[in-house]
Symmetry: C2
Subunit: 302 residues, 2 copies
């Protein structure tokens, strides 16, 4: 069982072509839904009194929501952003923390034997605390964001020390390691202790660092992007889910499987961005996913 801890949000997303208001979003939402195609997923998070019941019901069908707290006096974390014409740059319009402001995450008893843990871009101190609640975690992977790097850099590094893997985007890696060269950043991140590091470069794919090995992996060439929100989180979820579902005994020493899981992460990222919000993660089928995954592997094998 995979436990995912992170934000569940209501997003207003504006592209030059369409505006969608208060749709379901959040890092944990995307990651959980993407992972759920491959593995049972248990969510830890919080929503407010304005979180539509219809959304809750959609999530309930796919995820274990025992750890999703509903706050009766506050609103759901809200994020309003706009994309530019070619959907490559996002501007934040409004961020309302709401329920996240003083959230103290708790781990339900039913979760504490979960072997696999994905910690989204939460407060690194909270992520560290969450890790300590699990009995025998075999695989802990975390993400982070600029805000925490700028405000709690020491905690971010402490958090990374406690994980087996880091999934982080290029700008965050550069900021955290204070170096513009991603190869150097990857090495630096590995030196904090994790077994592997995945630096995400959006449509350009990832750099995968594992011991002394660096593997550049190109992105899947996608023709139609509707809403780039959630690509990185869906990547992380797809990666974790596939890895868990196909694990052999020594999960962390199977570099081929780790690489295949990265490919699946990329594929889940492509599905996320082909429609607004999480729509496509509800509409798509496992067959669609496997077909695109096979096509991607074929492209890379020429």
């Amino acid at each position: 069982m995979l436990t995912v801890f992170g934000s569940v949000a209501l997003d207003t997303t504006r592209t030059p072509f369409e505006i969608r208001e208060r749709i379901m979003g959040g890092a944990a939402t995307y990651a959980s839904l993407a992972a759920s195609f491959f593995s049972p997923v248990s969510l830890i998070g919080v929503i407010g009194n304005d979180f539509p019941n219809s959304y809750y019901k959609l999530l309930e069908k796919r995820l274990n929501l025992e750890g999703l707290v509903r706050h009766s006096n506050k609103k759901t974390f809200f994020y309003d952003s706009s994309f530019d014409y070619d959907l490559s740059h996002r501007t934040t319009n409004i961020t309302e923390l709401n329920v996240l402001e003083d959230f103290e995450p708790a781990v339900p008893t039913g979760y504490i034997n979960s072997k696999y843990l994905y910690l989204a871009n939460n407060d690194p101190d909270q992520n560290i605390q969450i890790i300590s609640k699990f009995k025998h975690p075999e695989l802990i992977v975390c993400d982070t964001i600029e805000f925490w790097i700028e405000n709690k850099k020491t905690s971010v590094i402490k958090m990374i020390e406690k994980t087996h893997g880091v999934v982080i985007n290029d700008q965050e890696a550069r900021l955290l390691c204070n170096n513009s060269n991603l190869v150097k950043c990857g090495r630096e991140l590995l030196s904090y202790g994790p077994k592997f590091v995945v630096i995400k470069k959006g449509e350009h794919g990832v750099l995968f660092f594992y011991d002394d090995t660096i593997i550049p992996i190109p992105g899947y060439p996608l023709e139609s992007v509707v809403d780039p929100t959630g690509a990185g989180d869906s990547f992380a979820g797809g990666f974790m889910g596939y890895l868990i579902a196909n694990k052999s005994k020594d999960l962390l020493n199977d570099i081929q499987l780790l690489k295949e899981s990265i490919l699946m992460g990329s594929i889940m990222g492509t599905f996320a961005i082909e429609a607004f919000g999480t729509d496509k993660l509800f509409e798509t089928t496992k067959l669609d996913i496997m077909n695109r995954f096979e096509l991607y592997k074929k492209m890379l094998s020429v």
Copy 2:
């Protein structure tokens, strides 16, 4: 024999770490030098009365310069540019066309049986004219730049119609095809007639289009970049040189060889940018090149 037609320049290149004045540069210079590790190369171009003899002698050791005209009354094409802190953005300070202004390229008789032709980012009408001078060209590949797309778009497309392959960077592809999505751009470029299209994305690698096949290829993860000038031109030269040197009978139908040649192009790009100007293309050895090429192939085969 590969014939390369394009600019030979004197460059003043400014990075935040060092400034080098009037060093040897130009699209054809980089492409020819990169290709010369694999194949005999004949150059078509023009230099002025200020082109240092020491530079000429360096070129002479590696290339057939019969088609390199020296203008006695004018200066060499001069380009002065500055890079930002992370060497990812270039600002043009000065462009002096000088000898290029009214250059009428001629093809020496000794070149006209050349089977392989690389046309750098020249005036597309000149490239078209040059193509017509060759007797039995088997492989014609061209590049272009924003200036020609903006000023001679019809000629650029006419030029592409007459080639077997296009090597173009991402921004140019977007501008030419008026579409921000590179997959759509690649398909559009193929529809103009060439057998293959390579869209270069700098450090992020390339997208390779061949019939209905799209192959994303990641860049080689390079740790130290000194001067990004010439990466794309060296890519094109390395690609052409390796392709010619390893060709089988039906060069244009060997997708594996085309892909391997793209890998070698990327490798030659990495060498070009590890030192200022063309320095590394003179200092490096075939053994260094083959070692990095094998390492790159190994990375991609995991």
